[in-house]
Symmetry: C2
């Protein structure tokens, strides 16, 4: 589990780095990005996890997310993991962008041949946090989590299962009910098998219906997002939260799509929202 540095760049007074390590959980080398702001010289800093969407690696948000200026000002470490295991020995389906490489869906697969490597849930919640705690000036008592699309799904479900670990959770255009959305239910079947009860712990709506709770959520959603009606459907989560008494701020953003041009527009709003809760 030793970590290797792939690249570092000075940026906004801090250090944007890319790192790899041999992941025991995923059975392959895993790459991730971390931004450490300049305030790290003075002591451990809070950590904000960003989980990316389908087809992404750690690099998409690192290059296009525009989080560094404000993270450097506020003093927040930003961790950007990959979205799946990768490598020659990792089974994949190269013709399907909604399964395999780039599409780990933040679950622990139970079906072979995927069960050995596709364990992104445990990777994100156990192995990588332990590495971050050991290798970076991180205050692991102050963690929050957010993400985009499939990564929004990851953030919501992981927060709902760890309400005492994460101080706050938000999402850009999350997949709120992946068990019933076309672009995720097929992957769930291949990773988790045909028993749909086993899917519910990886579905934000189902988790809330089954009793999971979190303090509050913030969601920004582009109203011109082409995946809105079939894949994302934030109104399903809105209804679940209302019935469960969970506070949800859902901002529908007129004219915005699913791209990083949308994400970067509202990135600062999310950073400030998390910072308030990380430092409260």
């Amino acid at each position: 589990m030793a970590m290797k540095t792939v690249s570092t760049w000075k940026s906004h007074g801090g250090v944007q780095g890319v790192y790899t390590h041999a992941s025991d959980v995923c059975g392959c080398d895993m790459t991730f990005a971390v931004f450490v702001p300049p305030q790290a010289a003075e002591g451990p800093l809070p950590v904000l996890w960003y989980l990316s969407g389908l087809t992404c690696t750690h690099a998409n948000v690192m290059e296009k997310g525009e989080y560094r200026r404000l993270a450097a000002e506020l003093g927040i470490i930003i961790v950007c993991p990959d979205t799946s295991p990768r490598g020659e020995n990792v089974p994949d389906d190269k013709d399907d962008w909604q399964f395999g490489s780039g599409a780990g869906f933040y679950v622990d697969a139970t079906v072979e041949p995927y069960a050995r490597n596709y364990r992104m849930y445990t990777y994100i919640t156990e192995e990588l946090p332990a590495l971050i705690a050991r290798e970076f000036p991180a205050d692991m008592e102050r963690q929050s989590i957010f993400g985009h699309s499939m990564g929004g799904h990851g953030a919501l479900t992981i927060a709902l299962k760890h309400p005492d670990r994460y101080r706050s959770c938000s999402a850009f255009a999350p997949i709120v009910e992946p068990t019933t959305a076309g672009w995720s239910s097929k992957a769930f079947e291949r990773y988790l098998g045909s028993d749909q009860d086993s899917w519910r712990k990886y579905d934000a709506c189902a988790l809330v219906k089954d009793g999971a709770r979190f303090s509050e959520f913030l969601i920004d959603q582009g109203a011109a997002d082409s995946f809105l009606d079939e894949g994302l459907r934030p109104w399903l989560f809105e209804e679940c939260c209302r019935e469960a008494g969970i506070s949800l701020t859902l901002n529908m953003r007129e004219g915005y799509d699913h791209s990083y041009y949308f994400i970067s527009t509202f990135m600062n709003d999310h950073l400030r929202w998390h910072h308030q809760r990380l430092t409260a």
Copy 2:
């Protein structure tokens, strides 16, 4: 010269677009990016040109430059052209990243077979401005120009030849004396021939020595830039400006390299500097 829209994205309240047109000057289709801020609804806005470096297209700064948030706040149109002609009928040297595609060096080539297409100087100073004036809500009486590396060279030389057109000029890590730098002098010979006198009008240091003047310059340069000593050498331009009585602010930035992690760090400084001069 009719313009086609390739893509548009709403971002920071404005519109980031990518467009193509059949360029008469370059003899091929040319692609460029324009960001139009929300204030365009109220009337024409000043225009800031960003010229990119070797290997880049319009897309690099559009994706990684982090200019939209502040440009939207200040109300500045940002135009990001490509760095060379491209296409099946455009002669190229695919083995040389310092010549041909992605390496137009903002000159008008005079040597065949390059003279027909490699006319980036006229493209940037005549054809594209005419298109921008016609197709966008641009106040062409208020233009400024900046760029990175090869594009910094482009910005400095174009401003020095048009001191009345551009209100201000700045650069990130510019090639200030391309006629004597290894990564540019070979390209100059292939585009312009062996008569080195003909190269001087495309060299910022030579232009100043030959009498060209501009009101003032701002340059940011990473002190850890691996191209600093052999390719960039801002001290050469500093000396020319001092001898010519031209005001130059040269900021050497400790620890920063040649990447967009450096550019995006100082982007806001440059935008504010140009905005002051565009609205003075």
